[in-house]
Symmetry: C2
Subunit: 121 residues, 2 copies
C-alpha cells in the first residue's frame, strides 16, 4: 500500500513539475479538486485549473507520505503528503499539504478526491 | 458538507484538548490512525495511543478546513485540516496537517481514516 502511494505520488509530482496539463489522465469525470479552498470537478476542468496556476516552473519536494486503505471494500487508498513547493526563482519555498483518495481502476488508480493547501508560516 | 466537517472538527479538537481519552467514542474497531508515521488500528488502541502522547496540555488551532464527499455512494467525507498545535508552555507552536475520512453511522459519523503529521519548519 505504501508502495502504491509512493509510486503514485512520484508519478503525480514529476508529471506536475514537467507538464502539468498531462495530469488530466489521472482524474475522471467525478473527480474533485479543492485547491486553496476553490472547488473544481471533472478531469478536464481540474487539468485546466492546474494548468492555469500562476507559476511557470514548479518543483514539489515530498517530505512525508502516509497511506491507509479506505472505502467499503478497502480497495481505495487515502494518502496524506506534506512537503515543500519551490516555484519559479525558488527564493521562498512554500510548505504544502495534500490529501488524495485513489480509487482502483483495472491495474491502476485514479484520483477521486484531491485537497491541496499551502501552509503559510 | 462543510458544516458537517466543521461540526466534527470542532467537537474532535475540543475533546482532544480537554480530555483526549474520550476520543475512543469517535473511532470503531476497523478505524486506523497513522500518527507521525506510526500505525494503530481500533478505537481502544487509538485512544490509548492518543492518551499516551508526551504532552499534558494541548490546544489545536484550526487554520484551514476543506471537505469533499467520498466513498462509492458519496456518503462519506474526506476532510483535510491544517493548523497550529500549542503544547504545554506554548512557547513554540507546531504546524500540523491531518486528514480524516468520516463514515456515516445513524445520524452521525465516525472516523475511519486518520492521518496526522507535524510540519516542521
Amino acid at each position: 500500500m505504501e508502495q502504491i502511494a509512493q509510486q503514485f505520488t512520484d508519478f503525480y509530482y514529476s508529471t506536475f513539475d514537467s507538464d502539468r496539463s498531462q495530469l488530466a489522465s489521472l482524474y475522471r469525470a467525478q473527480s474533485m479538486l479543492t485547491f486553496e479552498g476553490a472547488q473544481t470537478q471533472g478531469a478536464q476542468a481540474i487539468a485546466e485549473k492546474l494548468a492555469g496556476l500562476p507559476f511557470q516552473r514548479v518543483q514539489h519536494k515530498v517530505e512525508t507520505l502516509d497511506a491507509q486503505p479506505t472505502g467499503s471494500d478497502g480497495t481505495s487508498l487515502v494518502v496524506l503528503v506534506t512537503g515543500m513547493l519551490v516555484v519559479d526563482d525558488g527564493q521562498n519555498p512554500l510548505k504544502f499539504s495534500q490529501s488524495f483518495t485513489l480509487n482502483p481502476e483495472g491495474n491502476s488508480y485514479y484520483v477521486f478526491n484531491d485537497i491541496f493547501r499551502l501552509n503559510y508560516g
